[in-house]
Structure formats: structure tokens, C-alpha cells
Amino acid sequence: MSVAKPQTDAPLLRVSGLKKAYGAIQAVGGVSFEVRPGEIFGVIGPNGSGKTTLFNSVLGQITPDEGRIELQGRDITGLSPRALNHLGVGRTFQTLQVFGKMTVRDNLIVAAQEHHGTLLSRLFAPADSGLSDKADALIDLFRIRHVADKKAGELSYGQQKLVDIAMAFMSEPALVLLDEPCAGVNPSLVGGISTLLKDLNRRQGGSFVVIEHNMDFVMDLCHRILVMVEGQVMAVGTPDEIRANKQVLDAYLGS
């Protein structure tokens, strides 16, 4: 599998000096990095090293104590998750976050409907906002057709995870942040997700930031990887560089 090289070097996402503390715990302690357009960027690190906190800060879910976040040169620090979504940033969650009482198909439709028309025009739009086909395509892609009309809350863990990921892709975001997308997902589908991301990346130049503990997945997929330990950046580099980094091996990967 060959992966397209990033096209330019101007950063798509730039995070500088990001800090977030909870009382005495410095969850994120001054993290800076850049994600280039068309790049698949990995974030790894031991449990509690601040990866999810980093995501939540970038995505407006929590307010960082310090630091600046830019999207294509524009300051997006402190923007709401909704605003970021409309700027083309999608995400998935580490914990299951689906709409439990809605069917899988409706979960997908509602994931993109706000990107069409105005508030008022949506009042007069068809129920599916014309998104049924797109939803069906993703349902097939994630092989959840047999549960497409079930309530999402009644699916197995892995199935819900897939729904969550599929939702992030419904509105065709330019940048997607995925928090442990493979956790609980069957290995064959892990391969599927990997292929999907590479495909989107190659064909449409989609950029991704992925937190994952599944090293096979990360090493195969990512162009560059950031290693976080105790809220700090330990290393940034290509998979090969990271694999060769003694410090990283000790702190995270094991040998």
C-alpha cells in the first residue's frame, strides 16, 4: 500500500504551547505540533499522557489554560465544537457517543444535515435532507447494513464504535480527529478502516489525526507520529524514527 505524500508544507493545523491542568495534574503541559495538509498524523503515548485532553482542547470541548490553535492560519482557539465542525473538522470519541434512541441510519443522516441549507430551509427540507444515499454508502462500507435500522444503543460495543466513526465522515470534513478508532473493532475491520483512511487521503487529500494504541495500525497508516508522555511531547517523527527511538520504546512501546 503506497501512501500519497503530503502536497505542501504549509500547516493545516498548528497547535502551539497548549496547556491544560486539572488542579495539580498537568494533563497537557505545553504541546506544540503541526499537521500538514494531506497528512495522516498519529498521536501515541501511555495512558493518562494527555492525548484525549489534547483533542478536547483542540476541538473546543474544553478550554485550554494556555496556547494557541490555528486552522489553515486562522486562530480557532476557544471556538465551539460546532463552529469547528462547520469549518470542516470532524471527530470521533474515545467513549461511545452515539444517539442511542435513533436508528443507525438516522445517526448518520443527522451527522451531516446541518451542513445543508439554513436553519429555516431545513424546516422545509425532506426528512433525510437528501443524505440517504450517502448514509447507505457508509453503512455498507462499515458493514453494518444488518443493523442499519436498529437503535444504535442496542448494538454491540464494536458496532457502536463503527457508527461513531462513520458519523464523523458523513459531512466530508477536511480534517478528522479520531480517538482510538480501532478499540474493540474486529481486526478485519481495523484493516478496513485503515484502507478507508488511506483511500480518502489519497483521493481527496483528507487529513487525519489519530490517537491509537494499536501499533500495527498506527505504524502502517501514519506519515508522522507524535509521542506524548506526561503531558509533554517526547518525540515527533516518521514511524520508522519512532520505532527506533529508545526513549519511546521504554516509555510506551516496550520491546
Binding site: 486539572y22 495534574i25 501515541i44 503515548g45 501511555p46 495512558n47 493518562g48 492525548k51 484525549t52 485532553t53 474515545q94 467513549t95 461511545l96 450517502k134 454508502a137 457508509l138 455498507d140 462500507l141 458493514r143 443493523v147 442496542e154 448494538l155 454491540s156 460495543y157 464494536g158 458496532q159 464504535k161 463503527l162 465522515f169 458523513m170 466530508e172 482510538e180 478499540a183 474493540g184 473493532v185 474486529n186 481486526p187 478485519s188 475491520l189 481495523v190 484493516g191 478496513g192 484502507t195 478507508l196 483511500d199 480518502l200 483521493r203 481527496q204 494504541h213 494499536n214 501499533m215 510506551y252 512501546l253 516496550g254
Partner: protein, 255 residues
């Protein structure tokens, strides 16, 4: 089809078990056996019914037909508390299972509620030695922990019980590679002391390495029961049991 386990070595046995949610039967006349003092790995695609097997065994779901046996003794319909207290079964479910508003330490205490406080307090430090990350957060509110920290806490909590039979559902979800290795090592140690482990894992390859036997489930039935090393060596493993046979190259999403 099934490995032959001498009757006196069978720890867990499902006989024609039918169980599910409401009227939706997930397990269809499931027959399955797990060996005493060994790690039996339960694998299968998302939605196969693996978690359902564990929940049924632990008395959380009603057995509609058939029977569940523990060391030859019929435990069909027994309440979780009895299974825990009388039969020494402990269960670490999938997903979040903490008391978010209580502290980490209080969560541990509750984990030992069936042991009495004295024993629990004696065992807590010993268990915490295995999970230093949890130790560091001992007086944090449990919901403040990171995903992986929470999972570690859950496993630690179950270890307090020194179970005779441990049911553990996808322990590797959210755990960093080093911790996964630790947990797997821990499971091996437990079996060395005679504990029977029934584990569900999607992280199949690493899990097979530490398991004794593997059972594959599909649509609520056992489709295979083999020695773990034999399976690991099987060149068709991907295609056959990990859903690989059904993997079509995914089309580009939504485009």
C-alpha cells in the same frame, strides 16, 4: 469441531444455551467448553455475541433454554452475587463500569464489598502495585481518569477478589501496549495459580500468544475451538476466523 477436554478438566460449559435481549435471541443453542486453569480466548466479529456469552454466564441475562455449568455444577439462573461469593467468578465487562462520582479508592473498596473491609484494605496495596498509574490517582474522582486509567482501575478492582474464574471482556481496549502486556502477564500468572480465565479480545494476535485455547463465535454459535498456538500458526487465520473472508476492499467513503 471442538477440542476434547476431559470431563474433570472442564471449568465452564454451555449446553444448548439460548439467551438474548428481550425477544432477540443472540445465542442460538450455544455449546461451548472452557478448560480449568487455562486462558480460553473468545473471538469473533463484532456483534457475534461474545459479550453476551459472558453476561449470560455471569447471570446478567436470563438463560431461555439449555444450561450453564461450572465445574459440572448447574449454575443456570444463579444471581451474580451468588456466582461471585459462592463460585468465585469475577467479571470485568466491556465499556465503562465505574462509579464516576466516587473516588478511585472508594471504587476499589466497593470492589471488595463481598470480602469485608479488612481483607479489602489488606489487598488494595498489593493490587495497586500492579497498576502504578491507578495508585497515583488514588484520591481522584473516578470519572476524571483517562480512558485507559479507568480500564486499569476496573481490572484492578476485579483482581481484589482473587477469583477462581475470571471473565474479562476486551481488556486491551484503551490500554497502551506496555500495559496490555502487563495485563496479559498478570492473566498468565493467575492461571498459573489455578484460575480459569475466559477472555474476549479483538486484539487477536497478541491475545492468542498468551492463551491456551481459542473459541471462535459467529452469530451466537461456536464455529471453532482449537489450541491457541495451532491457530496462531494457521496461515488462513485472517481469512477464516477474523472475518477476513468477508472483507471486500472498501469503496471510497461517500464520494
Amino acid at each position: 469441531m471442538s477440542l476434547n477436554i476431559p470431563a474433570q478438566d472442564v471449568a465452564i460449559e454451555f449446553r444448548n444455551v439460548v439467551a438474548g435481549y428481550g425477544d432477540f435471541m443472540i445465542l442460538n443453542r450455544l455449546n461451548m467448553r472452557a478448560r480449568r486453569g487455562a486462558i480460553t480466548l473468545l473471538i469473533g466479529p463484532n456483534g457475534a455475541g461474545k459479550s453476551t456469552v459472558l453476561k449470560t454466564l455471569f447471570g446478567l441475562l436470563r438463560v431461555r433454554e439449555g444450561s450453564v455449568l461450572l465445574e459440572g455444577q448447574d449454575i443456570t439462573g444463579a444471581a451474580p452475587k451468588d456466582l461471585l461469593v459462592r463460585h468465585g467468578i469475577a467479571f470485568v465487562p466491556q465499556g465503562r463500569n465505574l462509579f464516576g462520582q466516587l473516588t478511585v479508592h472508594q471504587n476499589l473498596e466497593l470492589g471488595g464489598i463481598t470480602l469485608g473491609m479488612k481483607t479489602t484494605h489488606e489487598r488494595i496495596p498489593e493490587v495497586l502495585r500492579r497498576f502504578p498509574r491507578v495508585q497515583e490517582r488514588l484520591h481522584s474522582q473516578a470519572s476524571a481518569l483517562s480512558g485507559g486509567e479507568q480500564k486499569q482501575l476496573e481490572i484492578a478492582r476485579a483482581m481484589l477478589l482473587r477469583p477462581k474464574v475470571l471473565l474479562i471482556d476486551e481488556p486491551s481496549i484503551g490500554l497502551s501496549p506496555l500495559v496490555v502486556a502487563d495485563v496479559f502477564r498478570l492473566l498468565r500468572e493467575l492461571t498459573a495459580q489455578g484460575t480459569t480465565v475466559l477472555m474476549v479480545e479483538q486484539n487477536v494476535k497478541s491475545a492468542l500468544k498468551i492463551s491456551d485455547e481459542a473459541i471462535a463465535l459467529e452469530s451466537g454459535r461456536q464455529v471453532l475451538h482449537k489450541q491457541a498456538d495451532e491457530l496462531l500458526a494457521d496461515p488462513h487465520i485472517e481469512r477464516l476466523f477474523l472475518g477476513g473472508a468477508h472483507v471486500a476492499a472498501p469503496a471510497a467513503a461517500g464520494a
